[in-house]
Symmetry: C2
């Protein structure tokens, strides 16, 4: 059995670092947005996504089953987003099928809902996240707050659009944690402990 | 330092049983809706709530600060609900001030937001909850599902109205758990472990 852990997170909660720590502690690969894009690129996906002419048209026909969009509007932007989501979903499934993985964001909990995996969501109080962003990114308090709200809104919209779900709602996940209580390392240890108790981590 | 644990829960998730198990394992009192009402009654609250005439009028003036209701409508029903919430809040605060406690539901996480306590939310997949309700309450599948949806809606409406928050949203709580993964006893043990790691349980 593979160990698959998906981690969703509110912006600035340190969820990415926690995922990295979980991967490191367990000695298993960790995939964030950048690495998922890289895997997609290596599979020859991204190249065609940004192609013109013939390739572009074939992509449009490839995404024809999205024509009953929930928004009722199809323009090249939506089609592109939908194609991108389909590609990312395929990449995430191929990662899960290859073996152990910690996967951050990208609706991985939803994409892998039929796989045996541990799904986690990391949040933290707004003041804590703003302080972290000020320190980590060297932002002013005002900029940190604006960035946090904008990024949270983007993640929520993305998740809710593709999963028909409710981002950050406890009922979507096996385990949700406020990272400010146990910190990055302590939260990673506690997630691993849950996975072991649940028999989801070897 | 007292050990205060608040537990919110979706209907049929076993959150009440988990809270009871946590209280038992730690040897500290457990309060559910029934016990909170009993404490209120012993404090002489409930009696006056259901009183007529003078007492009723004094209750109305007592609740005059609710006159800018969020709904913009004040009728005796709303006033009564608001008074009831205020009384319950006072009872919950007095329980927390008295010492160790596990408190189930009643927006206790929100009411005690300025206290040092561990706030937990318990959910579980719908199919699991329906199965539990069929077994525990001897209901048909259809009745179990209807009851679950109705009770969830009531809890959500109540919580969101009084806390201005979003019931079951991970960011409200320190820790959220799907009770179907570790079961009643295993989930109780895991909550206690979190509280100990966080220094919130003696």
């Amino acid at each position: 059995m593979s160990t698959i852990i998906t981690i969703g997170r509110s912006f600035g909660s340190g969820g990415g670092f926690i995922g990295q720590a979980v991967g490191k502690k367990l000695g298993i690969p960790f995939y964030d947005n950048e690495l998922i894009s890289k895997v997609a690129e290596e599979s020859g996906y991204s190249k065609s996504l940004f192609a013109d002419g013939e390739e572009r048209r074939s992509l449009f026909s490839m995404s024809s089953f999205f024509s009953t969009s929930r928004l009722g509007v199809i323009d090249s932007g939506y089609v592109n987003d939908n194609v991108m989501f389909k590609i990312q979903s395929e990449v995430i499934r191929s990662i899960a099928e290859k073996g152990d993985a910690v996967i951050i964001g990208r609706c991985a909990d939803y994409i892998l809902r039929d796989y045996k995996c541990l799904s986690v969501f990391i949040s933290a109080p707004e003041e804590y996240r703003i302080q972290r962003l000020m320190k980590e990114e060297g932002l002013s308090e005002d900029d940190a707050e604006k960035l946090m709200r904008r990024k949270d809104r983007t993640r929520q919209t993305y998740y809710n659009y593709y999963t028909f779900g409710d981002w950050g709602q406890a009922s979507n996940y096996d385990l949700c944690l406020d990272s400010s209580v146990l910190g990055i390392d302590g939260t990673a240890d506690y997630i691993i402990d849950f996975g072991r108790r649940a028999g989801l981590i070897k």
